[in-house]
Structures are given as structure tokens and as C-alpha cells.
Symmetry: C2
Subunit: 252 residues, 2 copies
DNA sequence: GTCAAGAAGATTGTTGACAATCTGACAATA
DNA sequence: TATTGTCAGATTGTCAACAATCTTCTTGAC
């Protein structure tokens, strides 16, 4: 499989803890590499990840790999079964819906908190610029990927404006888990135009300090993403079924 | 009580994985024991937990202890600092408020989902009985602890009625983190009478399938708990300050 | 008396080896 | 043919030792 392994090389060069708090520990480096492979699909859902294989690849012992897998489990990216090891988490459509439902509530809480923050004016210019970027990208049908990236950037910005660290941490984790699916919801120009309207309304609510409106808009936005993502997943599932059927027919 | 395993002794006897999925792995046993000590206050907030000491006590090596501490970190019970080890998490009043804010939203989602579940009638009898118990206990000022336990039991029941497993898992984790503080909110008979009214209204909303009302009630209930807990924490903080002051005066 | 530098001890991070368990294949039996 | 038993290989669980790092105490200079 051409397994490119991306930039595959030992992790050793980056030694940890040279006093700067920005260096990642060995465990975190391993977790980051594995995380990327899962989110990008290089590791397929359901695939087994074996400790020794990862340890050999990165030229470390199994200990840190083991801990890294536990970190990924915390973020829901892998599922660890006793005596069976780690599997890349495979979400059913119902589970995707459940995660989006939680995100809708918590994004509502986040955006309300931001809109009601007396100190929010400090971040408003950046926010205005970010939404303007989004508006520009939404007009160009060719800029699908750039739009997705801009939405992610906007969400990071909102995360920075949020004082509730625990909420931010939960939201980050849930977003990571559905990253593979969220983008499905922004795959058509029509959806992106709808999306940008939501963001414009949210910006207005924040500017005016209208927390109730901000919460309402956030919930609606996530629910729309959810419905779009689920519709796409249903299509993909149907397609896969017919493929399997044709395979079976060929085998018979 | 009655429990069991509360005694302090080596964990060895219970070997793991005798095919039954109910046996706890060594790591989970250690995590459960440590978790209990933190929640009950046997380990004080801010206290350091050292791997070797725990390993010696339970007569295992540091490996499983290390993993158990990571599990507790996932639940927010300990905070792990690089090269410094694990500390029992110490929550500021603001952090307690933040957690309660998240719980309010997610309990709202939970109770709405339950009220809108077409299959909810199956659990209604148990729920009715549980609220009736609560009503009875609320009348008796001497039954404070029993009331707290009954509320916990009712919450467990609602958790079982919930199909969204991820929501349940997040709620369980948040509840565990604030367990030391939630009880503060039910410490007076007046508060318990207010609490039982909320539960009665929630029961009615679930019976009638009124999801919006259920959500509204849940949020209000958690917000009330939050305010009561915070008021108590403020008192405790003030008391501690005066104590420290008198200590300082004595030293001088 | 206060502060800085350095040494000693304590603690976490990492490793490789061994033990326990699981998986899958093959053979024996009904 | 289908079911059960056994075995070998693979994989995770656990351990003890070593390395890297942090903390604390001592020492010395100002």
C-alpha cells in the first residue's frame, strides 16, 4: 500500500524537556503522529494498532507507545480492549449523531459565554476579520478545502476567547472525534453559503452581547452540520453496501 | 458499605481476565481504590501521589500504578505534571462553577432525550418509586445522607435510561469531579425540599413527554446546586483564611 | 542575613525481558 | 460435516533496573 507513513523517521532527535514547556514529551510526540494518521484516514476505522509495531517504527520501547495509545483512547480516537489492544475507533451513524448532539449543547454554552463576556471587545477585530475571510471564501466554489480550514481557524479563535478551560478541552476532544465527518457537511457550495450566514449572525450576536441568540445560533449551526454529515454518511454506507453486494455476486 | 474491598491489602488475589468481562483489571482495581480515597477526602486536594509508594502498598510494580494514575487524570481526579508526578486535583471556586455550567447543559440534554424517548414508559415505574423515596426522605431532616444517596441512585437510573453512551460517560466523569462539592448543596432541609420539587416536576415532564420542560428543569436544578455549592465553598474559604491568620499571629 | 552555586537524594521516564492470555489452525471425535 | 480439544505463535500485562530530571539541602560569598 505505498504506505508512505508520511514523514517516517525515528523520533529521537527531539529530546524532551529542555526546560521550555513547548517541547512535547516522547509520549505526546507518538500520540500526535498516531492521531494524525487516524484523523487523515491513513489508519482505517477498525484497524488494529499493535504496540510492538509502532515501537519498532519509532524506535522506542513499548512503554511510551502504550501510554500514547491511552491518550488517544481518552480522545476517543482508539478503543482499547483488554488483552486485545487498540483498535481505531469506528463510529456508527448513531454515535456520530450522539457526538454532534453533545457538541450542539456545548457549543451553545461556549458561544453564549463569549457573547456575555464583558471583556469580549478585545477579540472582536480578529473575529471580524475571520468572518470576513470566511465570507470571501464562501463565494468561490473552488475554495472548499480553504473554507473548511477557515472554519477550523475561527473555531480555534473562539476557543481562545473562552475562559472555561474544561469546556474547551471537552469541545476539542469531541471535535477531533468528528473531524473525519464534520467536513462532509461543508462539501457543497450551497452548504457553505448557509454556514457563512450562521457565522455572520453569531458575530452580530457576540458584538451585541446577546448570549441567548448566540447560544441559539450555535445550536442551530451544529445541528445543521450534524444533519449534513449524517446524510453524507448514509450515502456512503449505501454505496458501500452495493459494492459489497456486487463483490458477493462476482464470487458466486 | 459492606464493601469489600475497602480494606487495605495486596490486590493480588483477584486475577484478571477469567473471561468474565466483569472482573476488573489490575490497573482498574488500583484506579478504583485511589479514586475512592480522593473522593472521600482521604487524599487531600493538592496532595502528591507517588508511584513507588502506591506500588509498595498494593505490592505491584510501578507500571500498573502509572496507568491507573493516567486513568484518574482522564476523570480529572488527579493532575499529572511532567516530571513531577500526580497531584490530587484541587479545584478553585471558578473551576467548580465551570464544571457545574457544563453539567447543567448536558443534564438538560440528558433529561430532554429521556423525556422524548418513545420507549421511556418501560422505566417509569422505577422512576416513580425513586422520586417517591426522595419525597419521603426530604420530609425527615435527619435523613440528609440518605437523601444524598437517593439522589445519586436516581441519577444512576436516569443514566441507564439514556441511550447516548458518550453523554453518559462525560456526565459520569463530571459528576465524579464535583462529588466532593455537590453534597454541599443538599446540606440543609430547606435545600432538600427545593430539590425534591425539581425532581417531581422532572418526573411529570418525562411522563408527559415534554422534552423542552425536562431540559429547562434540569438546567435549573443543576444551577441551583451550583449556587448552593459555591456559597458553601465561599464560607469554607473564608473560615480557612481566618484560621491561617490566627496561625500566623500565633507564630509571630 | 540573603542569595547563588553545587552536590546528594528522590522521583519520574524509559527500557528490555518475562509471564499471562488470546487467536487461529489443525487434528480428533461424534 | 460439524463440533470439540490441543497446540504454537502472537500480543498484551507486568516487572525490575537504569537513565534523565527535579527538589532539597548544604556550602560559600557578599
Amino acid at each position: 500500500m505505498t504506505d508512505p507513513n508520511n514523514t517516517n523517521s525515528p523520533l529521537r532527535p527531539l529530546r524532551l524537556a529542555e526546560q521550555a514547556p513547548l517541547t512535547l514529551s516522547l509520549v505526546e510526540q507518538i500520540a500526535a503522529r498516531l492521531s494524525e494518521r487516524i484523523v487523515t484516514g491513513a489508519y482505517a476505522p477498525g484497524q488494529r494498532i499493535m504496540e510492538q509495531a509502532v515501537a519498532d517504527e519509532f524506535q522506542v520501547s513499548r512503554g511510551p507507545v502504550r501510554e500514547a495509545l491511552r491518550l488517544l483512547e481518552k480522545d476517543g480516537l482508539v478503543t482499547i480492549l483488554a488483552r486485545r489492544g487498540a483498535l481505531v475507533t469506528k463510529l456508527s451513524i448513531d454515535e456520530v449523531r450522539e457526538i454532534f448532539d453533545i457538541r450542539a449543547m456545548l457549543n451553545g454554552l461556549r458561544d453564549r459565554a463569549i457573547a456575555e463576556d464583558p471583556d469580549r471587545a478585545r477579540h472582536l477585530p480578529l473575529l471580524e476579520k475571520s468572518v470576513a475571510d470566511l465570507t470571501r471564501l464562501a463565494r468561490d466554489a473552488a475554495q472548499g478545502d480553504a473554507y473548511v480550514e477557515a472554519v477550523a481557524s475561527l473555531n480555534r479563535l473562539l476557543g481562545q476567547m473562552l475562559s472555561n478551560r474544561r469546556l474547551k478541552s471537552i469541545l476539542d476532544s469531541l471535535a477531533l472525534q468528528t473531524l473525519r465527518y464534520s467536513q462532509l457537511g461543508l462539501s457543497t457550495p450551497a452548504r457553505r453559503r448557509q454556514s457563512v450566514q450562521h457565522w455572520q449572525k453569531l458575530l452580530k450576536a457576540i458584538r451585541e452581547g446577546d448570549g441567548v441568540a448566540a447560544e441559539q445560533i450555535a445550536r442551530q449551526r451544529v445541528n445543521d452540520s450534524r444533519d449534513a454529515a449524517i446524510a453524507r454518511l448514509r450515502e456512503a454506507e449505501k454505496k458501500q453496501e452495493t459494492q459489497q453486494e456486487s463483490l458477493r455476486r462476482r464470487a458466486a
